[in-house]
């Protein structure tokens, strides 16, 4: 295709896109003007019926818990994909960086970075646990807390010790955590089916709104998702780290 034809095609497409955009934007509701119904309904029942003060988490793990099941398995499946693609190939072999073996350190980590990472590790883990278990009270929940939890072992790597990170978070433990989290979330849904007769209908005591152990299944579901997400991210990161630090293709020593 010649340059003129392409430009002409682009011109026609650009005018069309512009026209559609103008029509679409003109029909938008005013800024901050919410016209949906679902949001107002949720506003009304979040605290009174579910005893959760954070509506977003109540929506994710209770009211639309089924959607989260799908999302959770999207993450699970994509991490499986990463593992499949990055697994050791026939002409590759594990060969740890010599310095890594000798001194247990990743080249390039300064003393300041290592000290900071050591301070960060407990803080990150505490923050992660806090965000996971307080999902129904304050913003946050299993996904956000799970990623923060996964950054704890990652900070061990930042401190310059990748092989040590494998000791802190062994591959087998991380993979099992990932799987248990995924199964646990499904079990929360099945619990509803078994005890109340509806998949993902709350079957646990609701408690007092604002308390740590409140809002029924939300806390349990959030913890399961936290476990799954932290496991998933750690599995993916260690696959990437293995590829860059340990695995060498044939020929390179």
């Amino acid at each position: 295709m010649s340059r003129t034809t392409r430009l002409a095609l682009f011109g026609v497409a650009a005018v069309g896109l512009g026209a559609v955009l103008v029509i679409g934007l003109a029909g938008l509701p005013a800024f901050g003007d919410y016209r949906g119904v679902y949001g107002h309904v949720l506003d009304g029942i979040g605290v009174t019926e579910r005893h959760a003060t954070d509506l977003v988490t109540a929506l994710n793990f209770d009211i639309r818990g089924f959607d989260t099941l799908g999302e959770e398995f999207i993450l699970f499946a994509s991490v499986l994909g990463v593992v499949l693609i990055l697994r050791q190939l026939r002409d590759e072999h594990q060969h740890p960086n010599q310095e890594e073996v000798d001194e247990h350190k990743f080249v390039g980590a300064s003393e300041a970075l290592r000290a900071l990472s050591l301070v960060l590790i407990p803080v990150l883990l505490a923050l992660g646990v806090y965000i996971v278990v307080h999902g129904q009270i304050t913003p946050g929940g299993g996904f956000q807390g799970g990623v923060i939890l996964a950054t704890g072992p990652l900070a061990v790597f930042l401190a310059g010790r990748y092989l040590r990170m494998r000791i802190v978070a062994p591959q087998v433990v991380v993979e099992i955590g990932d799987a248990i989290g995924a199964i646990g979330y499904g079990l929360v849904g099945l619990g509803g089916l078994v005890f109340v007769g509806v998949f993902f209908k709350n079957f646990l005591p609701l408690g007092i709104p604002g308390h740590l152990l409140s809002a029924g299944q939300i806390d349990v579901a959030s913890t399961a998702v936290g476990l799954e997400v932290s496991g998933a991210f750690l599995v993916a990161w260690s696959e990437f780290l293995d590829q860059t630090i340990l695995v060498r293709s044939r020929g390179e020593s």
Binding site: F31, G32, D54, V56, T57, I131, P139, G140, G141, F143, Q144, V147, I148, T151, L154, F233, A236, W237, F240, L241, Q243, T244, S249, G251, E252
Partner: protein, 86 residues
């Protein structure tokens, strides 16, 4: 719309352009992280703290780690190839 919201939207627009304009993949990854922080601020001033938390964990840790490690691997392989046939 408050001043904070307008400022956050402007920051997102500017930094989004910055990510596209950065040519070196390494710089681009850092720009992406900063862009993620701007998005986080935007979600926060638009009163969506849950989304802001998700954005901050994904854009400042989750994604950059994978991109940086992939870049490192690519450079390793490039170095290998150059050593094989100079």
């Amino acid at each position: 719309m408050t001043v904070l919201q307008i400022a956050a939207l402007a920051a997102v627009a500017l930094l989004g352009g910055g990510v596209v304009a950065a040519s070196d993949p390494l710089r681009q990854t850092l720009m992406l992280s900063i862009y993620g922080l701007a998005l986080t601020m935007m979600f926060f001033v638009f009163q969506a703290p849950d989304v802001a938390l998700s954005e901050i964990v994904v854009s400042t840790v989750g994604l950059p780690v994978m991109i940086l490690l992939a870049l490192r691997k690519v450079r390793q392989q490039e170095r290998e190839r150059r050593e094989e046939d100079p």
